[in-house]
């Protein structure tokens, strides 16, 4: 299947999802769906660097929050002018993409666990900066007032849902296009053996910078509408540990080598978490969500270390060989 056909199909599915959700006409469905779609984007973005090139990034929250806080800063700076959210998403994507490039330049000489620690440090540094930046609310946080009417679909929650749905389609289509391209081969060689990749002519540093920039960009774009989603944003929620944990756990559970892995992982884990949030059986403790993630992660590491996609790929290969 070529990229254009895939994009058309993905858009068709997205439209179908939106129409079905509209048919139910429950605003909560859009609210919960937004969160799941947000995780689809974050997991897919994480996987471009973490899954394809094998560099484990613990800094998701930093890239995400930079997108969100870019919006807060822009909304405040242009107070009175209603900035369209797609524009804020472009701005957030640019900021986080640029930071991703810079971080890549500084840290990609580090390998394995050292790179991961550096991304964790980045998250701490950015959070400290934001917490002490009064203009965007500092530790008190910032309120964002939703406009009365949303463009296109009327309801603001539905509008945000539609935006995140479009971004999810864009992220997945990008990830899939990379997989089937020269870039995808290059990323895979970096994951497998960097010295051998260089010896085969692969410009590893440049490719890794492309990966960090893309990852940062999509995470920033996913963060940009967040102030409108939560209407009150403070560093503790913007830099929530759940973002970093989930964006790693979802691709690992789904499978890291294909675009389908993060999608499956995010849909599965995201839905379970949404259900757990409102289910009275488990009680409504937010910590239960992370407990679920942790237990599932352990189960998968033991039973299917290559994730759901990897598990079925191995099955397929076995049956073909037999």
């Amino acid at each position: 299947m070529n990229n254009r056909l895939f994009l058309v199909l993905a858009l068709a599915i997205a439209v179908a999802v939106f129409v079905i959700c509209r048919w139910f006409a429950i605003d909560y469905l859009f609210f919960a769906g937004y969160q799941i779609l947000l995780y689809v984007v974050l997991a897919t973005a994480w996987n471009i660097l973490g899954g394809y090139t094998g560099y484990v990034n613990f800094g998701t929250a930093a890239f995400f929050a930079m997108g969100a806080y870019s919006s807060v800063a822009l909304i405040k700076f242009f107070s009175g002018v209603a900035l369209p959210i797609p524009l804020l998403m472009v701005a957030g994507g640019l900021v986080s993409g640029f930071v991703g490039l810079g971080m890549g330049y500084l840290t990609l000489r580090l390998r394995g666990v050292f790179f991961s620690i550096a991304t964790l440090a980045l998250a701490v540094v950015v959070q400290t900066l934001i917490t002490n930046w009064d203009y965007v609310g500092g530790s008190r946080g910032a309120y964002t007032v939703r406009p009365m009417v949303a463009p296109i679909v009327g309801s603001y929650m539905q509008y945000l849902f539609l935006l995140m749905l479009s971004l999810a389609v864009a992220a997945i289509a990008t990830a899939r296009a990379i997989e089937h391209s020269e870039l995808g081969y290059g990323f895979a060689t970096i994951r497998d053996d960097e010295a051998a990749a260089e010896a085969s002519g692969v410009p590893t540093l440049r490719l890794k910078l492309i990966a960090t920039t893309l990852t940062g960009m999509f995470m920033g774009m996913a963060g940009a509408p967040y102030p409108y989603y939560v209407t009150y944003l403070d560093p503790a929620s913007g830099f929530n540990l759940a973002f970093a944990v989930n964006s790693i756990a979802m691709p690992l559970i789904g499978g890291t080598t294909t675009w389908a892995g993060p999608l499956i992982g995010a849909l599965l884990l995201g839905s379970v978490q949404q259900i757990a949030t409102v289910s009275t059986v488990l009680g409504t403790h937010p910590e239960v969500n992370l407990l679920i993630v942790g237990l599932l992660l352990i189960a998968f590491v033991v039973a299917a270390p290559n994730g759901i996609v990897g598990f079925f790929q191995a099955r397929l290969r076995q049956s073909r060989a037999a």
């Binding site: 051998a196 260089e198 085969s200």
Partner: protein, 245 residues
Amino acid sequence: MNAPLLEVTDLGKRFGGFVALEGIQLSVTSGERVGLIGPNGSGKSTLVNCLCGTLRNDSGRVRFDGRDLKGLAAHQRTRLGMARSFQLPRPFGSLSIAANLRVPLLYTVKARAGRGFDESSIDARAADLLAMVGLADKGRRLPRDLSQVEMRKLELARAMAAEPKLLIADEAMAGLSHSEIDDILALLRRLSAEGITIILIEHIMRAVMSFSERLVVLVAGRKIADGPPDEVIRNPEVEKAYLGE
């Protein structure tokens, strides 16, 4: 006589206080078959790494095909026409055997050719290379399905996929059986006949002696001999290094 393809002048490399290479002079002409030998730890692999850009040499110069390689990354040197195989095979484990060969075709041959490159030829080229090393029926398998000798052949095929002028084969035969060594030697001779310059780094003397036109000996980071194989192995210094006094 032509200018040498590879010219190493006064090359030195230290790891902290340990001098791995010192004052290495080496000149290789186009089309030559050079054997590089030396006891373990004598600096052979370090020299290869300095030539290929995996390590940066601390002093001296490397010129290749009329260009100074100073500051060039490994992938740039590969694109200039210097290919290597690794001492321990390092295949791309998640890619199929055929895809392993596609990587240098895409990233070296295509990058070198620029816009005029016909991408549809890649599959055919990969198939040719697989046939050359006798892995034609294994293109869709993963590297972990290969035997040790097949892995070495894949390693050489991947180096050859970059269409190099100079091939540096780092212990391509270690751990192989007698007949497997002959297999690899035949392959290297065929490449040499096609005009590719080859530097063979090897411990197996039978292989080096039958293959090389010239033998270079490294001992403790210094070059102690360089000349026709028969003369070099009678050199008392070389004997001392290998057999002791």
